[in-house]
Symmetry: C2
Subunit: 179 residues, 2 copies
């Protein structure tokens, strides 16, 4: 059900079409809760039926009509209800850890680890650039900005520990100095 709330949070920041939301999810919220456009359209339809969002259609020339969704008071109430409750522990599901655990193909693991490391570095770079750009003075943050910054910090920690882990794996499998 958390996709519902992720969409509501995003709509609180600004009304949007399904298409817009899909792009936002690719760029920002999706780092914490990825979603495809197909899923987003389905959930929007469901939430409209529940009265949590309302849509207005805009015609556009040369382009398909655009349905813009906005959060309703009922949607706000639902967000508040959800925000007040505890969040569940998220399940860790790592194909990679299972593969390590079943240790069979040293070279495949090394290759895999290198790819993962590069991926972590890329995302860390992206997060750090966002942090420098949008939150240069964290001690001055309040409310929504503070929350968004803390969420970003979570991403930064995740990527850093991912790099550390990859380095440990590479050191153990290839010996130090060969990376």
């Amino acid at each position: 059900m958390a996709l519902d709330h992720a969409i509501l949070v995003s709509l609180t920041e600004r009304a949007a079409s399904g298409y817009d939301l899909a792009r936002r999810f690719d760029a920002s919220i999706g780092h914490f809760w990825p979603a495809s456009h197909q899923q987003i359209y389905r959930v929007l339809a469901r939430m409209q039926e529940a009265g949590w969002v309302a849509s207005t259609v805009q015609e556009q020339d040369g382009r398909p009509d655009k349905k813009t969704y906005a959060i309703t008071p009922a949607g706000e109430a639902e967000l508040n209800r959800w925000a007040a409750g505890p969040s569940g522990r998220e399940a860790v599901r790592s194909d990679f850890a299972v593969k390590l655990r079943g240790f069979r193909d040293r070279d495949a693991i090394i290759a895999d680890t290198r790819v993962r490391r590069a991926d972590h570095v890329a995302r860390l770079t992206e997060y750090e650039a966002s942090e420098a750009r949008f939150y240069p003075d964290p001690s001055a943050l309040e409310g929504a900005d503070l929350g968004a910054w803390l969420a970003l910090r979570g991403g930064i920690h995740t990527e850093r520990r991912g790099i550390e882990w990859c380095d440990e794996i590479l050191t153990a499998l290839e010996g130090p100095g060969s990376r």
Copy 2:
């Protein structure tokens, strides 16, 4: 499909019934790929049909019959095939990060963060105890043991960064010194 491979890895270590596997998942492999007994029974049935595992039934007095599953050569081949390929990046889905991002209820977030922190500490303690007990001399490890240790290291890194993140959140929301 990775539950299939997690079960196969576990069966490689030792043949087991669905019930045994469910307990093993609760205790160890499940830290990287949680699974309920219902799921495990379903996957075992599917893998038996595919010829990846074979079962023998043992009668027991005073207790229900026990179906013990073992991996077959076809299952070994499948595991090797899977181990040689790259592993996908796992999707991060964090209810908690979405909640932070939508920052609405400071007290609820603080309470939530404290619970999460305690949870991370508990698991970290467990992992560190396992490490000290089973892998006192990591530099001497090889093969399957090395893989299992590296997987455990991943868990340790995850919990540590989880604690760091929680501390950062609590510091930002309550100010330093009040924790």
